[in-house]
Assembly symmetry: D2
Homo-oligomer: 489 residues x 4
């Protein structure tokens, strides 16, 4: 605890306790935002005549200096004290002693955390859209690439690799939406709430919010310093995003395993065993999967941390801050790796000719019997099922079956036309063209989905760009207004 605060109520200090409660490690990330919060606060104090221009000028000069050279945080309880001490060292007690007027660490820390989180999520959001565009570009190349669609880890029906990619792209787009919505709730200013009750010091909270790039205020002062649902929401959205990244990774690990061999990872994204030279391990993908679990657990930590706390500020909140950075950083790293890896995937072009995938045509064979033979679907389903069973038993695939085999299950000799349609259905490349429903893996629909996804990405990117501009403009406004004070005589 700094002598700034110790002077009054409490006297002694212990290095081990200061060290235990110190947040200075995790504060490094919020140092610059905290300096900016102080600048905006001082501008507002001066504007409302709560402090005089001369004092404001001196403080602002000291703060500008801090922007360049980080305040020394070693042995200091937190960044807030470090900044006030540094300012006071440069301006003297008379002036520096005014810096904390009308604010508190409670509102200042949550404001700096919101700014840092906002900026981190915006960067992540851009990265995520970048990954979505990667998947879209790759999907375009693979609209016609037959690929097995799996259910229960079993090949179920033929789809295209393009459909696989665009389907997963849509899940990421929903994550982007959630990020955007969370961003709006995060980007609200608590400044002016002071400790929990606002202050009698005249202070324009809207001005401070504007200077710091916020979209609005967390209005009620108790809510502004006491709430951490914005952090929980961010962690939840990050957990969901990580979960989706993990699913793609799990897919690719499975698809690239030697028995399945549908895709091959780029060498530079795989590693070999130190003892088993033939292995090509999907190391980065395994780590993405693992990190998703970590990020989910961090949400669990944070929500549990809030459990049992009363309204108002509690120091427990301090432990949430590093959780935010850890989650944001891990998810961003995962997105970056996936975005670098996916364009370099090699897909087996001959998937359609794999004999064992014949069985994935079974559903459409049943549909064919309904359409052509006017069989109830359930009956068709049973007939095709029986056929598959006998084929499997004989070690055959569906392509090996003869007209007599079909006759056996149909109870009559199938027409030549039917046999021709059957063999067409068994051709997986033509099979995927037969899907007629909206959003299906037919190449035509895949094309439509790609164009739809592209449009969504453009919208999301525009929203991001707008958010970024707002922040940049506020920064300029802060510079302008503090500049006016600094250059006043």
């Amino acid at each position: 605890m700094s002598s700034l605060l110790r002077g009054g109520r409490l006297t002694r200090r212990r290095a081990d306790v200061v060290n235990f409660i110190s947040s200075s490690e995790a504060d490094r990330r919020i140092t610059r935002p905290t300096v900016l919060v102080n600048e905006a606060h001082v501008v507002a104090l001066q504007k409302s005549r709560a402090i005089q221009s001369v004092a404001a000028k001196k403080i602002l000069r000291a703060l500008r200096h801090l922007e360049q050279s980080e305040p020394p945080t070693r042995g200091v309880e937190d960044v807030h004290v470090a900044i006030e001490e540094a300012v006071t060292r440069r301006t003297g007690t008379e002036v520096g002693g005014l810096l904390h007027l009308g604010k508190s660490r409670n509102d200042q820390v949550v404001t700096a955390v919101r700014i840092t989180l906002r900026d981190g999520l915006l960067d992540l959001s851009d990265l995520l859209i970048g990954l979505e565009l990667c998947l879209i570009r790759l999907a375009k190349r693979h609209q016609n690439t037959v690929f097995p669609g799996y259910t229960h880890l079993q090949p179920a029906q033929p789809i295209s690799f393009g459909h696989y990619l665009i389907a997963n792209c849509f899940s990421l787009i929903r994550d982007s939406e959630r990020l955007t919505e969370a961003y709006s709730r995060i980007n609200q200013s608590p400044m002016g709430a002071a400790a929990i009750a606002g202050t009698s010091v005249p202070l324009d909270r809207h001005l401070v919010a504007k200077l710091l790039g916020f979209e609005g205020l967390v209005e009620a002062s108790l809510d502004a310093v006491g709430g951490r649902d914005f952090a929980l929401e961010a962690l939840a959205v990050l957990a969901l995003t990580a979960n989706d990244l993990s699913r793609i990774s799990t897919d690719l690990i499975f698809y690239s395993s030697s028995e399945v061999g549908l895709v091959e990872l780029p060498d530079e994204f795989a590693s070999t065993s130190s003892i088993m030279p033939q292995k090509k391990n999907a190391d980065p993908l395994e780590l993405i999967r693992a990190k998703a679990a970590k990020v989910a657990g961090i949400f669990s930590s944070a929500v549990s941390l809030m459990h049992g706390l009363t309204s108002g500020y509690n120091l427990d909140y301090q432990e949430i801050t590093p959780m935010l950075w850890e989650s944001v950083d891990e998810v961003a790293a995962c997105v970056r790796v996936l975005a670098a890896l996916t364009p370099r995937l090699r897909i087996d072009a001959l998937v359609a000719s794999r004999a064992y995938l014949d069985f994935t045509a079974a559903t459409e064979l049943a549909n064919l019997l309904v359409r052509m033979e006017h069989m109830p679907f359930r009956t068709a389903h049973q007939r095709v099922g029986a056929l598959v069973r006998s084929a499997v038993k004989d070690g055959k695939t569906l392509r090996d079956l003869q007209r007599t085999d079909w006759q056996a299950v149909l109870g009559y000799r199938p027409s030549g036309r039917l046999m021709k349609l059957i063999s067409q259905t068994l051709d997986l490349t033509s099979n995927i063209h037969s899907y007629r429903t909206y959003g299906s893996p037919s190449p035509r629909e895949t094309k439509r989905l790609i164009s739809h996804a592209s449009a969504r990405c453009r919208d999301l990117q525009r929203t991001n760009d707008r958010a970024r501009r707002r922040v940049e403009e506020s920064m300029r406004m802060l510079r302008r207004m503090s500049g006016t004070i600094l250059s006043s005589s």
Copy 2:
């Protein structure tokens, strides 16, 4: 496994295995929605001429019958099989065997889950707005009721009980917003995605979606049956909501504890000990707190469940369904209890006169010294701190201090005017009027916050009402279109 499905590929069955994988218990809740999904599907099949009107008519009649009398689910694998079997029993195999054409349990189950979840969240959302309105009404009565604002479980500054209530109301309003946003992503139709690849059967997915009250489609078929992020999002939002309800409960448990005694619980919401007759235990509030932890853990279960799964449908998803109902129900029950309890709270009207709360005026005393004595805030803070320390040591409160005490810390004899302002500041009721910032606990600002919160609630309610009307209209449309088929000759 039903004989419907067993006929083909697999033959034997075991009661214990069927029992283990059976979801019939949890399916009860989605039974009616599943029947409706079947009706909408049949209407669409008939519209696109995939099945004939006569067959459609028979099936619809059987389904209408099922709406009244639940299908027998005992010993049946799941509701989907139960419905198809029941229809087939009434219509014969030729007709009933068409019911499953162009769909799959994979799309059907997720559609029914989305409908049920959507309806549950809409009900919850109404309840939550109801609770917010309760808090608003109570806040109106307590705009001037002085109450200690706590930080670190210590009285920190005077606020009003009205401010406490409205601050917590705003956190619930954000939960309502999240519910609304989640609702939109949930209320999208997967029907037509079939197993994972859509189908060659002609089927108007948009029509089915409309008949079931959906706002749109989950377009990509693999995404439609394979994704469960809608469920994870719902569970996350429920966990956040429960966390906020839990905080209010924790507050009230603390405020009503005998030492604190700020509020008194209504008798009918407390219970006494079986052995300690003097106790008045906040049982329902403790349970709300506990249930919040449970709901958070359910999210943790669900996100962990999805970890390591590949794209496409996996039976693991089946375990998520009961988690949804459990979370929705628990949160709804908690909201209901809080909404019944809060209006009956009794607040100690004489809080302002509690001597030990004098100290909560310290911050404003420091601000007063800054304003009147032109002292740097940090100096003022230290002076007041020293005063508090010596008062505590002497067993006094701030009101007990004399002009000489002030002289001792100021270093000069304070003016009569200052002494008068000091004693005004020490009057907590007048103290809360001194807060000047936007969103502070001053009665004027509390009034503004109340009116703002009311407006937000009205908006949220309007959105809910619109959502409900959409669902009702779709229901009428489904009735109309199936009615047309039923009455055709």
Copy 3:
């Protein structure tokens, strides 16, 4: 709240609140144990002359009656009240009013929960040993069955299926050990701790503990009613056990997937798709995997529930009780299914001949070069690695390579003896015999591991049997002592 308790301090009641706080649903499981706790308590009260024999006799008779016919719990707050009311109805207020002397719901409920949990864990423990024995029996049959050992989901080195099974058996044995250790901490009696402070009523806590089959006491009364770490520990051990069951399930899902095809599931444990008749889905295994996530989340719920609570009894604990039953039941069901399924697995006997598994011999090839050619291991590793790379490039396996290929990487012409040893190493069946380390997958070591695991299982079973006998003997003692009172004149 029952009129038993309402008479004094509080008066009004509300059906919705009673319903919300009622635990009667979850209490059903602890009803019989609670009756027994009451019996043991009454015996002890009579022994210490706190109540007279005549009263004890009447109460015991009423309790015996309750053992047969469950007390009516509908509309009652909890089982404790229901029992006291039922006894009082049969014995009159004068006598029944003595039942609660010297005890409290606080100690009674946690005692009944401990008894029920203890019994549930003992049953589970037996089931788990049963599964371990299944794996052991199956391992005996497969000591020589070559099977790929995977790392990173890639075949890495040849092992035997027997080794796979026994390795997983050992992880389950550790779970059994943890269950046993948790059992001892759970099986301690809180009775006599009353509300939190014990009682002035003379009462032999050791006698009550003995009559209820406990190994000892939770001594400190505050600890006895306030602690729930026994429950958290049980949930943690269950989560770990479920995690191990889930890994076996995940393995089998992967091994039985069509591309991998190492094992085939018994038909009666698989299901087929409603629309894709060729599929054979590992439904029960997918559910085991999902349930493991659920059980892990339940631990998360419970530990979060305890977070922020103070010492002493809180009603929050009530929510932990159903979590215990849910976890125990889910894990027991999973164990049962696995124990039924594993003996029916069919293993591909021809694994050793799969060409692509040649590469798994690479490590031993490198070891061979070290041994025979005195090459540093790292060099040998690189040489073999290069060989694999060129073979993969040419679409060959290691068996296809000629002496000239080896010459190319060795830099000299390999001897005939070396070539012979190489081909021996490439024969996977002989390869697994070459492992020399303790615990390796060589058939000889597998046999030893099997015998070691069997011995561990026998030990565990003996411990279980002892525990069961202790419980049964205590039951007889309770019968005897209460019988003596009942037959007294």
Copy 4:
């Protein structure tokens, strides 16, 4: 990926990917243990003549050198590669290339993690016993200090502060037991399991285990490298321990809050607000509470990480390692702070005279009526309850009540003797002497509990000391055996 491994199968590398998969940051902690593992491995290789003494000597010399000066890990994939590279640089490829013979990163990493975790848990265990002894010493001073026992955050019955402390001490002792049991399962050697299948290289696994201080082997090679239940168990035990520390912290935060004021925190463990000088915040205690939630979430991360993984080694495990260090360090820091803080607590000596605590005598008043007036307990309970209710209504405490008040509820005039016993019971100091049950808060029982807890702590400490000696002896043996090789000619 190091060129050590790249030479063979894979060629290209990317800095960003290497960086992403690098564990070098988290490896720092296992660097020294990994060097030791290499030393023990080399000793065993030489013993079994798998490598020659000359080579062994050179390698051991290089490893000894590494013990002093950490291997450079910057830009290196992991510590294993760094060590091998460093050795190879000093010894040349011919000799250094032998280091990895018969081992793999898979067994090496898990061995080093087990060693580091074992050592960390042993240190933690000592710290925890230290805290228990603190509580015991403090409890001795407070065997007679009356303190309210709380249930539902309401004072329920009088206990002593000594009982409070010893009750919580017992919960920590159970944590110590769990740590000890987990330690035994952790302290088992995986070395010799190599990648997953052991090796054909002759290697005495028992010797390696002994040289590294392990109690035994993880026998089955697949289990040895593939299992991480030892890590999950450690994390679970840490979560439980943290939960208990958190409860003590939560208690102290509540007890020291200004309204409750039962204990006062030492100044050096509290901090004041930056704006509210009268506050004395329990910062370190709030952080302990928060860290407990974090540690619980880490378990959740880890168990979720394992979910869905197949048997064998997966790189996902790498993410568990830093979770272990984080949990161990956080819990150790919390224990240290609590052990420093608790002896400095000041307890309000006059608690017994607080008027509002009169009501906590109610239960014993009811027991008194049973004993003296032969009233059924339930009736006594109701009578006392009614009395409390009327007293509360009149703003009185029980001490204020007159003989006539008692007459009103009893229905007859109480005897002088009864009135005397009533007033004795209302004296809380004499009240706590009246508890007669084993483990109750009577001073006599508290003394017994203290002596019991002390004995348990001594046992635990002895077990720890034994464990520590085993590790130290093994270290000496390793030194001796490697020394023999180093000094051989």
